[in-house]
């Protein structure tokens, strides 16, 4: 049995079904990324996992124990880092840590030891006296993460942890998550960014309360239906329209180029001459490996329509 088992979870707000018989399992010591559009049920799922609300039907177990059984101790097993910065901005880094340690009953030398350990990986030690409100975005997130880790949780739930954080700080943040995973912590992280989701062991795409796909980044990307050609060089509106008008093909501008989405029954060799006919040099056309994001967009766009194989 996986460390976190979600089985047929159903949650309804009055008329709206937020989670529709969702099942999902996350292995101990792995990172699961949760992606999905606004209203997919991500926040509801996180609130359920934090036991802030209870489902109408379905079960969740953590290490074999029923999460919704009030007798199951949860607080000391679960760490939660909310999306919005929720620490005390008028307290210093150190004061925030000490406050949260107190909440979890961590005092004296046990606290000092834990604090110093957290400083080594967050590199926040030199900023211990700085007010939390005056930290950079990346430092704030590392402080929030540190506060969520004070009590050594086995399950860590992160809600869009790196929004607004620059790539260097984000990479440091994820290096910390990798360390925690190696130490056996199970991590559940929601994110709107596919490059971030791709760092997780498994990605789960949620849509309308249902699970549309689960797998490693490569596995999810590999389920892309059709293929993609990239044409380098900025297309004017006219050329883009002519590319888009090619039978069966969808053209989308993408940076300094255009992506052509081909349906599964059409080969690149078939399309290439038709593109060259439009005056585009063969050397400007390359085949692009579909990304998780390409597949995600395909899933989302197809989910509400009957033609699921159109991009």
């Amino acid at each position: 049995m996986a460390f976190l088992e979600i089985d047929n979870l159903h949650y309804r707000y009055d008329e709206t079904t937020a989670l529709d018989n969702l099942s999902l399992s996350v292995d101990r010591g792995s990172i699961c990324a949760l992606v999905g559009p606004d209203g997919a049920g991500k926040t509801t799922l996180i609130r359920l996992l934090c036991r802030l609300i209870a489902p109408q039907t379905g079960t969740v177990s953590i290490d074999g124990e029923d999460l919704f059984d009030v007798a199951t101790p949860l607080t000391d097993r679960l760490g939660y880092m909310p999306q919005s910065f929720s620490l005390y901005t008028d307290l210093s880094v150190e004061e925030n840590l000490r406050f949260y340690a107190g909440v979890f009953g961590l005092t004296g030398s046990a606290y000092i030891e834990k604090r110093d350990y957290l400083y080594t990986f967050s590199r926040l030690g030199p900023f211990a006296k700085r007010r939390a409100g005056a930290l950079s975005g990346g430092m704030k997130q590392k402080l929030a993460l540190s506060c969520a880790l004070l009590h050594d949780p086995e399950l860590l739930i992160l809600d869009e942890p790196t929004t607004g954080v620059d790539p260097v700080s984000r990479r440091q943040f994820w290096a910390i998550l990798d360390d925690l995973r190696r130490a056996g912590v199970t991590i559940f992280v929601s994110t709107p960014y596919m490059d971030e989701a791709s760092r997780a062991d498994r990605i789960t795409c949620l849509f309308s309360g249902q699970r549309l796909a689960t797998g490693t980044a490569d596995e999810v990307a590999a389920t892309f239906i059709g293929s993609i050609l990239r044409i380098d060089g900025v297309a004017d509106a006219d050329r883009l329209a002519r590319l888009d008008a090619l039978a069966g093909v969808t053209a989308q501008r993408f940076g300094a180029g255009v992506h052509l989405y081909l349906p599964s029954d059409m080969s690149a060799d078939e399309v290439m001459p038709r593109v060259v006919e439009l005056g585009i040099p063969r050397s400007a056309i390359t085949e692009r490996t579909p990304s998780v994001e390409d597949r995600f967009i395909q899933l989302m766009s197809g989910a509400g329509e009957s033609e699921a194989d159109n991009v």
């Binding site: 559009p37 607004g164 620059d166 790539p167 990479r171 596919m194 509106a237 940076g255 989302m300």
Partner: protein, 246 residues
Amino acid sequence: MSDSAVEIRNLTRRFGSFTAVDGISLDVASGEIFGFLGANGAGKTTAIRMLCGLLVPTSGLGRVAGYDIMKESERIKRSIGYMSQKFSLYPDLTGRENMQFYGSAYQMSSTDINRRIGELIEQLDLGDFVDRLTGSIPVGWRQRVALANAILHEPSIIFLDEPTGSVDPVYRRSFWSLLYALAEAGRTIFVTTHYMDEAEFCERISIMDAGRIIALGRPADLKRDHEATTLEDLFVDLVDGKGPRA
């Protein structure tokens, strides 16, 4: 009007003994989509404030929308649009009311304001969302309304500061298709982002570190020249390990 929307040379801004922007030079063509990247604290915000006419450079020279960056900041302010995901809209006003407010702040006539609102509802496909409180609509739609607000006065350059934080890739792509349409109509798009998959949507990007521009070019060319697989690898390789960073 010149072919360059942004044309700056050795632009520098010091605050006391601290040099926030250290002699940057940059040309952005009209109708170009330019990504302005950098770590937190690299000097991006200071540079953008100078480009928007909000902060006078310590030294250097340049033109934005054809106007002198040292002397014509008021004209620059009228020629640019600015959108930030964080605070561009009043949440207690509807999209329409936000635009009416900003339009009058730009001293547009009410006839012009209403004409533009009509055009933007159609162009950005705002639908009913324009008449709902901006604080109560989904983030993706709020961003569209914020974009409408920023381009109400038909600026030739649009500055977007992390425009698509917290939205899913479908929303993000549809937002970018709006930006591409604006660029094709001749507007210049100047965007900052921390997400490298979004940076890939730009024609050219620059990376700023410690007040200087340390890389400039098309994403594909930069990756090739630096033998980096992804823009993020490139960014981290160039920026990391250059002094204390927590």
